[in-house]
């Protein structure tokens, strides 16, 4: 799915499957910040983001026991995050994704990015955020989610171009 699984990931997953509490903490210490960032991007308001985050954290101990030894930790965690966000936010599956390339681009400020992200449909926004904070390959995300790889790539492109499109004066 994503090539060889790093040996450290395989060891950690083995411990997680064995309900090793220390492994769970280890996992969460490493990934809580990216997870929180994704929740912030999806939830908007801090309270809502916190609810999403708490939900993912609550689901984690049960989810990790079923994790595969054939996929990296980041990918399996991103799948959990994605699925919980889909469920909590009732994200629809995109019917069609248009990724139009702007004529001119510019690097947005962080405030501008936040503003533009909030205008992006959440079912596409989640893909971009998982890219930025989990860095999972599109092929892996597709395999884990049931989306077509092309859909994942189109979603990524649609959001990416929307963020850098230079707006007129």
């Amino acid at each position: 799915m994503a090539g060889p699984v790093p040996i450290e990931d395989a060891r950690l997953i083995s411990r997680l499957r064995a309900a090793d509490r220390g492994a769970l903490d280890e996992l969460w210490v490493s990934w809580r910040a990216p997870t929180w960032a994704v929740c912030r991007g999806m939830g908007g308001e801090p309270e809502r983001a916190r609810a999403l985050f708490d939900d993912i954290q609550a689901q984690l101990p049960g989810a990790v026991r079923g994790w595969s030894l054939e996929s990296p930790v980041c990918c399996q965690l991103s799948r959990l995050v994605w699925r919980r966000l889909e469920a909590r936010l009732e994200l629809p599956r995109p019917a069609g994704i248009e990724a139009s390339v702007p004529a001119r681009t510019a690097t947005p400020s962080r405030d501008e990015v936040a503003r533009r992200l909030s205008r992006v449909p959440p079912e596409l926004r989640v893909i971009y955020l998982l890219d930025v904070f989990y860095r999972c390959p599109a092929r892996t995300l597709a395999a884990l989610s049931g989306w077509a790889e092309l859909e994942v790539r189109k979603a990524r492109a649609a959001v990416a171009w929307a963020l850098v499109a230079e707006e007129g004066p």
Partner: protein, 273 residues
């Protein structure tokens, strides 16, 4: 074989993420070599990713929001202090918030191997200088030779690098070829990446924590971020902190000129200090 421009544009966001099959990435890279506008688009895509990390990532560390914006620490509810950034001395600069993905923005993270040790002297990055030559040789124990950024990122995590420090920028749009990387030696968590251009190797170092303070030759703020430039002979070094990590950039330019390059990488209007 080459790709038409519209195809390259369609692939550019995935290229920016380091998520194209090697053969497709090579074709996009070739197109970038020929087309400065494409390179500009790519730089903006990288910039947007950095801005996104910056916009959403800082709250994860308990800044920029009240308790409601702060996540729980761990499943086991470890001490809240684990989440906090180190407290700066009162006399130091304000916290810097540059997205971790900026680490992939080329020159802003590069240290010139041949000059770093002599340039840095008693400066904030002095203790890191010995790692430059070590990594540049690309044969140190634990060095991972890997030219694919995504694969190297995974390999670095497997080697024990923390996820937040395992990002690998694709700097091919600047003509920099990825050689490989390694976990930073010693007790300080970090990662080291090595790039090559025209036979010269460049090293990016990323560490957790903060750089010690020193009197810089020039300062600039970019979008609220503070960049410090240090001058030593013909070479200068720009230092800033990004997402809880230290970023370094050096070159054989006067401090002000190097600072201008770093400002371009970070983006946005700058207020000279």
């Amino acid at each position: 074989m080459s790709l038409d421009r519209s195809t390259v544009l369609a692939m550019l966001p995935c290229f920016a993420c380091g998520d194209l099959p090697p053969e497709q990435a090579a074709l996009v890279r070739a197109a970038l070599d020929q087309d400065p506008e494409l390179r500009e688009h790519l730089a903006h895509l990288h910039g947007a990713m950095a801005a996104c990390e910056e916009a959403l990532g800082e709250g994860a560390l308990g800044e920029g929001g009240g308790d409601g914006a702060r996540p729980p620490v761990s499943v086991a509810e470890a001490p809240v202090s684990e989440l906090e950034r180190p407290v700066r001395p009162a006399a130091s600069a304000p916290p810097l918030r540059v997205g971790a993905a900026l680490l992939g923005l080329a020159a802003a993270l590069l240290l010139s191997i041949g000059t770093a040790a002599t340039v840095l002297g008693p400066r904030p990055v002095d203790a890191l200088a010995p790692n430059h030559a070590l990594a540049a040789a690309a044969d140190a124990p634990g060095f991972i030779t890997q030219s694919d950024p995504a694969a190297l990122s995974i390999a670095l995590r497997a080697a024990g690098v923390e996820p937040g420090q395992a990002g690998v920028g694709d700097l091919s749009f600047m003509g920099l070829r990825l050689v490989g990387g390694m976990k930073a030696p010693g007790d300080r968590p970090g990662s080291i990446l090595v790039y090559e251009r025209d036979g010269q190797r460049f090293v990016c170092q990323m560490y957790g924590g903060e750089a010690s303070q020193g009197a810089p030759a020039a300062l600039a703020t970019v979008g609220g971020h503070l960049l410090r430039a240090y001058q030593a002979g013909p070479t200068s070094v720009v230092v800033w902190e990004a997402f809880g990590m230290i970023c370094l950039f050096s070159g054989e330019l006067p401090a002000q000129e190097l600072l201008a390059v770093a400002i371009q990488r970070v983006g946005g209007p700058a207020a000279e200090g």
